[in-house]
Symmetry: C2
Subunit: 352 residues, 2 copies
């Protein structure tokens, strides 16, 4: 029987509540489709930080590196600065394991509600492919003349040929598996005149390898406007770390699914484990109440199974979610229902 | 009688069609409210570039500098690269005249249609205050190892204390003139860890001077989502050059007014002229057909009058636009009507 080794990091806040439901559904899928999941739990979080001064132990990356995938809840808690929590756990894993693709589906699910007027499931169904290791999130920068009128800060945005090409290739390959075969590039080469024209150059170059794929590109300002006005234009959208970050929150927002959106941090060559996490954060305001929506976590679990080669099981989970939503199954408050986190998890697990 | 000297630059494409309508309305307001406009026309554009090799003459800035304001149409044309057209005309004026505030109202006008479901004029009425001279649009950067696998580009984002403080001060002062007195800061300090934490620091510092103003801040990714989900949360939103650029396209998009949005590039100390331009571009696809919507240009004219101290005239123009839209006056195709550019301009001018 096939076996997959999963490192589980529930993290903070509602991550501790949604992760068990994700696992419940994964377990149901494993039994139905005949594979084993070998889970190793890690309690790394802002709580561990409070106790030990570290978000993860010094050998944390070493411990994770032999797993087949990482299943993450959410990271961050009030009182612990982002540069400690995020840059002590989330970002080092993304970079250290070269998870250079951050893949986020934007889909209007049947039965869920878009804030847009007159938009149905057929109008919103695309992927954001975000570069996940370089760009605007760089580690080169600093401050001069502190405390004076001359004070300034500077941070470099860095795009490498390797970094651009590999994420663009992923986007084109993804488009090739889809009906519309279209890739849209997010740029801002009219304003950001050193890095972004290079991005455009690499995009044009990569497009030559995929004559079957239609391409277009928009500056990020008008592209955000188009997400609202014409979400039906998009199939696969590729962007830098920052632009991808923005678009992959805006996309689920227009689809009305920000509470249930999933994401995959992928190392396509599988030279290191990939990581799967919901788009939502630790949500301190509702943590501890067990009312958080577990669908983002469960959907991320489906993306994980697909990455592990369990495509049938992955499709089954996604279809089950869509079916339960369409048929008015139990839903949490954010979707207008009364159910708790566990109710929704159980309903999906049983249906699987 | 009061006199204002206006430099008029219609620029490219539909700018040549909307600018005359802007002037028609300004002229009507001047007659009604008793002031003179002394106009100087400049034909600087991509056409001039084709003929002379320059977007503006070498002494262009000198010629503009004694005007009280600049009234701009649109800049850019296919075949002329952005770094020539925009960086040869628009950006040098913004920077050279220290127009450090780019102010853009986001307003759901009565009778115009938002793509959002169930949103009325009372829900969307805020300003984006964009830093207009530094940040991500910097002139420091370059490329190394061209043509090799090591190739990379780098561009610095620069925030100065002076640059942050002055635009934030403007935002707070603007909020003080409004009913809700709220300022929202657009940040991304969890991902962009040198420049954006500094932005947060300066924002917290400036807020101390305005105890009557409520503040909050969001990372740009979730802020874009909130623009779609909760546009009613916002009153004045302040952001860096790039974030302000994104938000000031997204804001009009959710308000359904991207074709009619106005903007002001302001030098608040009036040490140099300010510049007023619609948010839309030169629109090559419809240029020459005289069907472009002139409202963005006319509204920009109203912002110019306000800046010149003609508040009564400015209010009159804005109210006239709102009234004509609400009462089903002539409208261009983008707003579902049949009228031409000139029809709309004339209707507004007459009503003023
Ligand atoms: C044309 C471009 C350089 C410009 C900008 O990004 O500033 C435009 O998008 C704007 O918002 O005025
Ligand atoms: C928490 C933050 C650093 C992170 C990011 O910007 O990458 C988050 O917004 C995301 O999209 O996963």
């Amino acid at each position: 029987q096939r076996k997959h080794r999963i490192a589980v990091i529930p993290g903070d806040g509602i991550g501790k509540e949604t992760t068990p439901e994700g696992l419940r559904v994964l377990d149901a899928a494993a039994r139905r489709f005949g594979f084993d999941l070998e889970l190793t739990h890690y309690d790394w979080s802002c709580e561990t930080y409070a106790a030990t001064g570290k978000m993860m132990p010094d050998d944390g990356m070493d411990r994770l590196k032999d797993s087949d995938s990482i299943f993450l809840g959410a990271v961050g808690w009030p009182g612990v600065p982002d540069h400690v929590s995020l840059w002590g756990l989330l970002i080092p894993i993304r970079r250290g394991f070269d998870q250079y693709v951050n893949l986020r589906p934007c889909k209007l699910l049947p039965g869920s509600k878009s804030p847009l007027a007159n938009r149905g499931p057929e109008d919103i169904d695309f992927y954001v492919v975000r570069e996940n290791t370089e760009g605007e999130y760089s580690s080169v920068g600093g401050r001069m003349f502190p405390g004076t009128d001359r004070e300034f800060v500077s941070q470099q945005s860095i795009l490498t040929r390797i970094g651009c090409d590999r994420v663009m290739k992923y986007a084109f390959e993804l488009a090739m598996t889809r009906k519309r075969r279209k890739v849209t590039s997010a740029t801002k080469s009219n304003g950001i005149t050193f890095t972004m024209p290079y991005w455009d150059e690499r995009f044009a170059e990569m497009a030559k390898n995929y004559p079957e794929v239609t391409t277009d590109q928009f500056h990020i300002d008008i592209l955000c406007a188009h997400f609202v006005q014409h979400p039906d234009w998009f199939d696969v959208v590729v962007g830098t770390n920052l632009f991808g970050d923005i678009l992959s929150d805006l996309g689920p927002a227009v689809a009305g699914s920000i509470g249930i959106a999933a994401s995959a941090n992928i190392n396509p060559e599988k030279t290191a484990p990939s990581m799967f996490e919901p788009v939502h954060g630790s949500a301190p305001d509702i943590a501890g109440k067990w009312i958080a929506n577990p669908i983002g976590q469960i959907w991320s679990g489906a993306m994980m199974l697909e990455h592990l080669g369990e495509k049938e099981a992955a499709d089954c989970i996604v279809q089950t979610i869509e079916k339960l939503l369409a048929e008015g199954g139990p839903r949490t408050r954010d979707m207008g229902g009364q159910a708790g986190t566990v109710d929704v998890g159980k309903a999906i697990a049983e249906a699987v």
